[in-house]
Subunit: 349 residues, 2 copies
């Protein structure tokens, strides 16, 4: 049995800031990491929220993740840049990378930014939404530690390698497709494990290639890709864009952020695209409004109360939790308090 505690985002953010600064992260960068983690919890993606902070802190303490993120430009064209994040913080490198993509797309129409050697960046949506805030379409891709087998294989070779596309709409709710190539994100299995719950059939195979409902067996085995060979292809393409193209580790070279013996660098691939390059914004917003309204009003299957636009559930969750607080699992809360004690700092949660 697990319980949850309702916490407001501000004190949660402050606690993250305190913990990150205690392991040497400069305040401005700690604020970015805290923002990314708390926003995941706000959006209902607790598998990528403050639950992750102890792993980040332990990796920094082990000297395997740089608390002050290096940032070196390795290569550029008018519309593209490749950065090396030098084993620094994924959320910081992610924000800096996407902001550069937005800047270049503003000048040239479309842009792409690659980042090598960053750490896990949390929810991909955080970065794609930076483009939406600038009135653009944003795309975020990352690779990750291997958890999916090539189609027909039994050994994990590719990460769930998420892709997120965020698109501004006619109202304040952006369209956000944020998806792992697996049926579920690895973080959801990790959360089930932490909270002592089993997982549904169809999410994963054990190390012998058999279906399993045990989260530990799933973590030791492989995650099932969506659409079989299609999901395998998505994971591979994302690995090539974020890892192979950027010169970051790829495939089985990537190790887990929970491994305290080795660093766990990953790569990112960002794109930003001006709406104005293709349409007057007003025409675009009129057309997308017509399309999304028609979808929301589409006839529903029996028992279905609403049809959602991708990202709408997360948007409503974020609005609700900003007002009413975020339910944080007892396991996560305990881990944050233990970390504070370990670091000799006070957090008010």
């Amino acid at each position: 049995m697990s319980s949850t505690t309702l916490l407001m985002p501000e004190p949660l953010h402050t606690a993250c800031l305190t913990l990150l600064q205690a392991v040497g992260v400069p305040e401005d960068q700690a604020s970015v990491v805290a923002d990314v983690l708390v926003r995941a919890d706000l959006r209902g993606i607790s598998s990528h929220g403050v639950l992750r902070l102890p792993a980040y802190a332990h990796k920094i303490q082990a000297g395997l993740l740089k608390p002050d993120t290096p940032w070196t430009c390795l290569r550029e064209t008018p519309t593209t840049v490749l950065y090396d994040a030098g084993m620094g913080l994924g959320p910081v490198a992610g924000l800096w990378g996407m902001k550069e993509a937005v800047k270049r797309a503003g000048q040239f129409g479309i842009s792409a930014v690659g980042v090598r050697n960053a750490s896990h960046f949390g929810i991909a949506a955080y970065y794609a939404l930076q483009a939406v805030e600038a009135g653009m379409i944003g795309v975020t891709i990352s690779n990750a530690a291997a958890s999916i087998a090539p189609w027909g294989g039994i050994q994990a070779h590719l990460g769930t390698n998420p892709v997120c596309v965020a698109i501004p709409t006619q109202d304040e709710i952006p369209l956000v497709l944020d998806m792992a190539a697996s049926v579920v994100a690895r973080g959801k299995i990790r959360l089930a494990q932490r909270e002592g719950q089993s997982i549904p059939q169809g999410w994963a195979l054990d190390s012998e290639g058999q279906p399993t409902t045990d989260p530990q067996a799933a973590i030791d085995g492989t995650l099932l890709p969506i659409g079989g060979p299609k999901g395998y292809g998505i994971a591979l393409v994302n690995d090539i864009l974020a890892g192979v193209l950027t010169g970051s580790p790829s495939g089985v070279e990537i190790c887990s952020i929970h491994d305290l013996q080795r660093p766990s660098p990953v790569g990112f691939f960002f794109q930003a695209l001006q709406i104005e390059a293709f349409s007057s914004p007003q025409d675009f917003f009129d057309r997308i409004g017509t399309q999304l309204t028609a979808i929301r009003n589409s006839p529903r299957a029996r028992g279905v109360e609403r049809i959602y636009i991708p990202g709408e559930i997360e948007w409503e969750c974020e609005r609700d939790r900003h007002q009413n607080g975020i339910p944080i699992g007892s396991g996560t809360l305990k881990a944050l308090h233990e970390l504070a004690e370990e670091l000799g700092v006070q957090i008010q949660l």
Copy 2:
């Protein structure tokens, strides 16, 4: 029971050329369309091959598809262009659009080209592979007539809206992920219908939202998206990029190419990306070679003979059929002969 006839690609191409010219398509454009259709058959995607030609011809004869493709530039930035294909031929507009994307990416690093008001363009891979031939990464997206319901809905609202990513590799076999957002492409169901075969469970729902193995019921109902809400999201994002952003029809506005009462314009969205923008080509080819070799050698599940890279099966099929001929179904062959008779031209098949 259906039978097949082995045909070499050259006479098949010549027959297509004859039939297309007979309905008024200029020779250079007819050659592009024939090339796209025959290449689909060469690659084993017969659902998108010469089987489609009678529908194209009938649409032209009905005055709903322009045999001589118009091509108007509506908007441009240094890295992006939007074209109107004026109800012209999809394969022609697709080739022209991707060639422009490749040209601009060569100048600026990355580019995107939108096309509105074209017709069905066949296999998305044909266009993405144009970028590979120029040493670049290519992305092709199209929208299509509605066949997928929004997640939780029962009425078709989105096309299978394919996306193809093609990536050059260390050897002559490019990586080609060419996928519809549905579990299977609509064309596969149409082929089963034409050849009098049933379809597997899990491909589609009938018009009441129930599982079906009857291809006609599936065509009247909706296709299941991969990964449930994820596939719905992919279909919607692709519709927005190819349709809403370009100002082409989107969602339920798109009608089938088989409809002889109305035109059936669709939109395309192409991207090209220089490898050199991010890596020396040699380093990239070394890294991707390491990755793909490791995948090919990955341990296999019992009964699996080989692990394939996306696009490898199609590449081997193409090489084999170039030498040994293409099996064309009797239904397709009959339809081509009937069309030739109808148009009063001779074809040698």
